[in-house]
Each structure stands twice: as structure tokens, then as C-alpha cells.
Symmetry: C2
Subunit: 334 residues, 2 copies
């Protein structure tokens, strides 16, 4: 293994000079730097990560905790993970993968052993049990998702309330007066997953603001449930002309169910959704939708962490504005 002393000898300088040339923490003459770089290339030098971590008390590794639970849309999780890794690499950091199963102990372990410099936690619940731990940890963290009170934490996510509102505004703008929200399975609300509730809040607030008649319907993530909900909506709210769907697996089955019941989308019923773009695009009827901007969220989380690691201060809450992509599933009320 070639080490920094080898490089130093080869370049005719001291090890510390090589170190400073590498880190840029002290000025090095252009000429010397060049010589050092040549030596590094020639010898194929790679600094030892462990030694570096020990001496600098920085491992240049971030922890990423991914959720495993049922009801989580896996491709979206993967998108987050990839965008976090990609963003981390831009800052010369690597990413350690933790599963939620490891729980609080896992977080404590990687933090206390200095394996990682900072942590990113996905799928935060309103009253997440990990919050006190994260607050007390001696290293910075960023949450993807919002707990009930983000005091002392740093959180980033799509602004789901605004997303709910935006869907409603879109429908209202098209003249719809009676709308419904088909939401996530009941257990998601019980579990107090913040984003689901926030969609409901935004939906309801915007409907009220616009003087619309609105209703909210939690729904299991199974095709059969979609059918039931569709029938129920027709029965209970015959004047319904607009639907917001916040339940990925059910989007297509629900549209199918409406059509099977004789409602054309968008002819008789306009549908908007909060779901990944590729899902909205590939549906039988391409769906007007708001996507979760996984790339932005992941990259944003990393940027926030880097700022914190650099000693900067960051806002407790970062809400990404929803963007509505208009597709074929919505049209003006007939």
C-alpha cells in the first residue's frame, strides 16, 4: 500500500505538505502542488479512509435510513436513495445504508462509533420515536418528512398541504363544484404519517376556500377497495365531478372502476393524483398529477447536511413546492 509518506518522499516534500496540497487548507505553491499531484498519480496513491477519519474526526460518510414497512411505495424509496447517494458523491461523501428495522440502536451505533458524520432519516412519523434520539445526537441529521413539531430538527419534503390545495385549485379552476379525495389506507392516518394528513388538510382548506363541496375517503390499497369506493362515491355523492387520488396502487383500478360504472374519465369525471410521474404517464388515461420530487428532496437533504456539517445554520423546515402536470384526466366541467 502506498501511503502519504511515500508520496512525500517521491515529491521531495514533507507529508504534511502533501496533506495540505490535498485538502487545500493551507496555501501551497503551484509548482509544489503540481509535483505532488504527479507523484500521487504516478504512485497511485489513495488516502486510507480509516486513518483520515481518525485524524480528522470526519468519516465523510452519511447514514441513510430507509423504510421497509408495507404501504410504502418502493420505487420512490429507491429514487430517494439514489438521489441521496448521487448528491453525497458530489460532496465527496459516501452513504451507509441502514434499514428502519435496526431502529434507534442503529442510529446511535453509527453516530457514536463515528462511522458516519451525519444522518438522513426517511419516512418520519408525526410522533416518531427516533426524534428525541436525533435531537440528542452529537451529529447533524435531516429528516425527509415532517414530524408533528420539527423544533430543533431539520426537515425537508414536498409540501403535501400545498399539493392537496393545488389539486383542488386545479379542479376548481376547471369549474368543478363537488369533489372528493380518495386517500391512503386508514392505518396510514392512524399511524400518523404526516404527509397523508397534510394532503387532507390542504384539500379541505382549499375546497372550503373555493366554496366547493368536498369529502374525504380513506381507501385500502387493493383493487377491490377501489371498486367499493367508486360505487360508494356514485351513491353518496351523485353530483361529484372531480376526484383527487392520494393512493398509488389504487389509481388505475379506481379509474377502471369508474369507467366500469359508466363514468368516463375525464368526460364525466376529472381525476388528479399525487403519485410518481411514470405512474401517471403510463395509466390508461394519462393522469394530471403532482409528483413527489424525489431527486430534489434527496439532493436537498444532502445540501442541508453539508451546510450543517460546515457549521452553517439551516431552516428547520424546507417545503418543496408541488408542481402539477396537466394530462388527459382532467377537463372543464361539462
Amino acid at each position: 500500500m502506498v501511503k502519504i509518506t511515500d508520496v512525500a518522499r517521491h515529491a521531495g516534500v514533507s507529508p504534511s505538505t502533501v496533506s495540505y496540497a490535498l485538502s487545500g487548507k493551507r496555501p501551497i505553491s503551484e509548482e509544489t502542488r503540481q509535483r505532488i499531484e504527479d507523484s500521487i498519480r504516478e504512485l497511485g496513491y489513495r488516502p486510507h479512509a480509516g486513518a483520515r477519519a481518525l485524524a480528522s474526526s470526519r468519516s465523510n460518510v452519511l447514514a441513510l435510513v430507509v423504510p421497509l414497512r408495507a404501504g410504502i411505495h418502493v420505487p420512490v424509496v429507491m429514487q430517494f436513495a439514489v438521489s441521496v447517494v448521487t448528491a453525497a458523491r458530489r460532496h465527496d461523501h459516501d452513504v451507509l445504508l441502514l434499514t428502519q428495522e435496526e431502529g434507534e440502536d442503529g442510529l446511535r451505533r453509527v453516530a457514536d462509533t463515528a462511522l458516519v458524520d451525519a444522518l438522513i432519516v426517511m419516512d418520519v412519523q408525526l410522533h416518531d420515536r427516533r426524534l428525541p434520539l436525533l435531537r440528542g445526537l452529537d451529529r447533524p441529521s435531516v429528516l425527509i418528512g415532517f414530524p408533528a413539531s420539527p423544533d430543533g430538527l431539520t426537515c425537508i419534503d414536498l409540501d403535501f398541504k400545498a399539493a392537496g390545495e393545488l389539486c383542488v385549485e386545479h379542479l376548481a379552476g376547471l369549474g368543478h363544484r363537488v369533489i372528493g379525495l380518495v386517500g391512503s389506507p386508514p392505518e396510514v392516518y392512524v399511524r400518523e404519517t404526516g404527509f397523508a394528513q397534510r394532503v387532507v388538510q390542504g384539500f379541505t382548506a382549499a375546497a372550503d376556500r373555493n366554496g366547493l363541496s368536498s369529502s374525504v375517503h380513506p381507501c385500502e390499497a387493493a383493487p377491490a377497495a377501489a371498486r367499493q369506493i367508486a360505487e360508494q362515491l356514485l351513491r353518496e355523492r351523485p353530483a361529484l365531478t372531480g376526484v383527487v387520488v392520494h393512493n398509488e396502487p389504487i389509481l388505475e383500478p379506481l379509474i377502471d372502476a369508474f369507467e366500469a360504472l359508466g363514468l368516463r374519465v375525464p368526460g364525466d369525471l376529472s381525476v388528479t393524483a399525487i403519485c410518481p410521474d411514470e405512474m401517471a404517464e403510463r395509466a390508461r388515461v394519462p393522469v394530471t398529477s403532482i409528483a413527489i420530487p424525489a431527486d430534489e428532496v434527496g439532493a436537498g437533504a444532502v445540501e442541508l447536511l453539508m451546510k450543517k456539517l460546515g457549521g452553517g445554520t439551516v431552516p428547520e423546515a424546507t417545503l418543496l413546492s408541488p408542481r402539477l402536470a396537466v394530462r388527459a384526466s382532467t377537463m372543464p366541467r361539462p
Copy 2:
């Protein structure tokens, strides 16, 4: 930060004794060990990962390279990742997440900087560009998937050839005489992804062995393509009564297409698939299928790596036997 010397002082022993008590590399009297453990607990000691890595030249971290490419079924990738992390934790190791995008440089980097002790590479192609690198690296690796020649490497995967055979044997056992394989998109074969070709090999070999009439049909991963293939099969092979599907996204659309063309599954046509269990279970007609045992593969990869890290020798090829779950989509030939 509490360090090993603190523990040693507190327990009235030398630091080396604490170290040996922790690692078990030298005998320590029960009494002393107990005292040390108490001190550790009382002080909340956590060994510093970097220091440990430096002194022992073991980081206790594995690299996992996940694929990003289109045509890869994301939930399966996630399953692999989770099972690797879980298995690694059982061996007191952590997992560093690398994206394929980082390519060979990423592998070299984490290996050369001693950030990781060993590597797991997913989605290996027949003539993968990373193979020479992996062979030359000074740390062990395990491939999930098989290249053209695994010489000098360690590979593990489902035995896709056997899977292809098993599907055919199942159909043959039910009396079917004319069968077809609906495969992956053409580019998957062009790309020389081993597993797709191996399914074809197994399918063809078993069909020949059983004296069946067989045909192979690559197929795009889009519903429209499913419809086309269904029509083509009916036209070109009217006597067809058995189909093997090796193309996740198309499984359901294909069954739909067959039924739309007047063929009942399994009444007129028996269908088997190689796909995740939950997909097979949730289809309109639950599909007789062979699943990719992501848990076993991931855990197996870690076990192999641990054995190699421990100085043991392991077989170059580990093929996991396919298991066929019989469901509602197959029945004896009428």
C-alpha cells in the same frame, strides 16, 4: 468521547486487555471480562470506527453496488439490498451503498481507500466491464448474477436455467405439448444479461428433452407489446396451450390480452411465470410461478463474503434451486 483507555482505567486493567475482551482474540478471565463489560456499560463506551479500521485494517463495511438501469425491477433490487444489509448486520458489518453510475472508479475508490473490506455487485452482465477490475482488486467480492466465465470470481444467483426447465417440466407434466416462452425485451438479450439467456436455454433444453414443440418470443415491457405477442402467438401457434412468462411488467397485461382474445387462463391456456411472488399472487388469476429468492441470494452473498474474509475458500458458482409455487393459472391440458 469515552475511549478505550477510559474503560481500562475504570476497570483497573490495561487498554489491551479491554481490546482482547472485546474481540475475544485472547483468553480473558471471566471475572475480568465481567468487570470490563460493566465499565463499558457504565461509561457508554463505543469503539471509534476509524481508529479500529486503521489499527486492524478492517473497516467492517461492505460495499453494495445497485443497478439503476431501465428494465430492472426496482422492488426486487430493494429486496436484495435489504437482505444484504440485514445479513451483514448479523456479522457485525455495515453496508455502503454505491450506484452503478459510479462505475469502476467507484469500486476502485472504496476498495483502495480501505473504506470497505469487500464488495457485492448486483446485476452482472455476461461480459461485464467490471470483471477485470474485480479480479484484480485486493479485496474479495461476490457477484449477484453470472458473467460468461466466473473464473476467479464468486457468483451467486437463482439457477435461471433450472427455473426455465422447471416451468417446462411443470407444463409437460400437465400434458401440454406446445409451449411458448414470452421473454424479456430484446435489448436485455443484446445487453447479454446472463439470466435472461439462461432461462431461454433451460426452457429450450427441457422442451426438447420432453419432446415438446416450443418457441421463444422476446417482448417489450409495455402492455401494448403484450397484446401484440398474444395475437402473434394465436396466429402462429394455434395449438399452443402453455406459456412461460419471464417479463414482470407484462405478466398481467398478457393474461388480459389472452382473455380478451377469447382464451381462458387456465382453461384454454396454462401460464407460468418467473416473477416476484407478490406479483404472482395478486394477479387477477394467481399465477403459478418461480420467485427470485432475493433474501436467500442476498444473505448467501454475505455469507460467501464472510467466508472469504475469514480466509476460507468458496465455490465460484452458487446456484440456488428454483421453487415452483403452483397457483391457479395452470391446469392439465384439456
